[in-house]
């Protein structure tokens, strides 16, 4: 049996892995997007707690960001994947089921990525909020805007504008972190490459392809982010 060449692996033909790898890449994007969204929600609350929460909330938010930025992401994935399985198994036993119930890998992965990126989101949002001029908020109060209206029309759009570069960085980190989710057995890009490497005996080719696809995704997203930054800063005077 002859081994397929590098380009054969990339084709859609019988020897080709293109379809499987694209499906894997799609799964990677899905995990990254879900994790990123969860992180953004956590980050919004975290930043709110740090800025205008009471003492207890502030201490909790500080502890959260300190801990999550000090421990490896892999450990968080292990905690959620194994801890979640143990919890579900315990709950299942209460309802009379026997044996082990696995926690869905996708959910564990997305949650883990979300919880770790939430710490970074918190800092990004907090910094961006601090960059909003006091005068803008005071002007909104002077116009008689209610709290909710003020948040929706003034604070949120301005904070988002300042946060955009930081949010872009967090997205790139999340994208790369999603590769760790492969250890839970979710067939994303890296796991699919492992499967391909195992069944063809061509690990170098497959991991090289995976690397190139990651590079492509991150390049496309950095271009998109630059466009978005230009779009949201179009009203800003420069120089």
């Amino acid at each position: 049996m002859t081994q397929p060449g590098f380009l054969d692996l990339l084709s859609f033909g019988p020897d080709g892995w293109a379809k499987a790898l694209l499906a894997g890449a799609w799964m990677t994007i899905l995990i990254a997007l879900s994790g990123y969204t969860i992180g953004a929600v956590i980050g919004t609350f975290g930043a709110w707690a740090k800025i205008s929460g009471g003492r207890a909330l502030r201490v909790a938010a500080d502890a959260y960001t300190t801990v999550l930025r000090g421990i490896p992401d892999l450990l968080v994935i292990y905690l959620l994947y194994f801890g979640g399985s143990a919890a579900i198994t315990a709950v299942g036993r209460l309802f009379g089921s026997e044996g082990f119930i696995g926690f869905p890998g996708f959910l564990a992965g997305a949650l883990a990525v979300g919880i770790t990126s939430g710490a970074q989101h918190t800092e990004v949002f907090r910094g961006a909020f601090k960059a909003v001029h006091r005068g803008e908020i005071e002007a909104a109060i002077a116009c008689g805007m209610s709290r909710a209206l003020r948040f929706r029309r003034i604070i949120a759009p301005l904070t988002l504008r300042h946060a955009l570069p930081g949010l872009g960085n967090v997205w790139q980190v999340v994208l790369k972190e999603s590769a760790l989710v492969s250890i839970t057995g979710v067939v994303e890009l890296l796991r699919q490459s492992q499967i391909g490497a195992g069944s063809t005996g061509l690990p170098f080719d497959f991991y090289l392809i995976a690397g190139l696809i990651y590079l492509a995704i991150s390049t496309v997203s950095s271009v998109a982010l630059r466009q978005a930054e230009r779009h949201f800063n179009r009203g800003v005077r420069r120089g």
């Binding site: 421990i71 992401d73 194994f82 801890g83 590769a179 890296l190 990651y214």
Partner: protein
Amino acid sequence: MDWEFTRETFLSLISALPLTLALAGTSIALGAILALALALARTSGIFALDWFARAYVFVFRGTPLLVQIFLIYYGLSQFPAVRESLFWPVLREPFWCAVIALTLNNAAYASEIIRGGLQSVPHGQVEAARACGMPRLMVFRRVVLPLAIRQALPGYGNEMISMIKSTSLASIITLMEVTGVAARIISETYRAIEVFVVAGFIYLAINFLLTRLVQLVEFKLNPHLRQPENAAAAVIAGDAR
């Protein structure tokens, strides 16, 4: 919380600490050398070197570390030429593969930090050194590098912490460092929370010490930002008068 189990877990995780520190220490040390070379290539003004450094940073920052580790550990063994070469005893070892991947990855991030430091050195300082008659190498060694290190240190400290965290990926290629042992205990006992707390505590302790160490070095390197002690005493005496 089961204290007996927690104590046992702590003891087995602590015994894996030397491996984590060896991985981090070796790759930070080797990475610093490579990063300095890359930063010098970026600022050299020589087209080929500049673009090589740019491409290197782009590739290593754009792909996940785990892919880089797999590419080196599993990928290179695909080629018979590698398996027969004299590097094979090194490339066969998961430890050295992890160190190589961490070093290459670390160098990409650190080179950008060092480049920022090098570019922040005020031009007047370099001109003054040249005017004193220092040769280029001496200017670099006595003026540019110390100032650049001082400027780059806070960012470099963050990179070292992220390096400590990254060593956990070595557990995926069978190295039993702290995270590897933690994963083994979790999968044997399914007591994720206790193990997580203990392992998390160990990492936080390392990173806390590291942050303090970087702060100490920063303090030592910035004598011009400190109040001289007798000046402070004079101010207090002046207040008293």
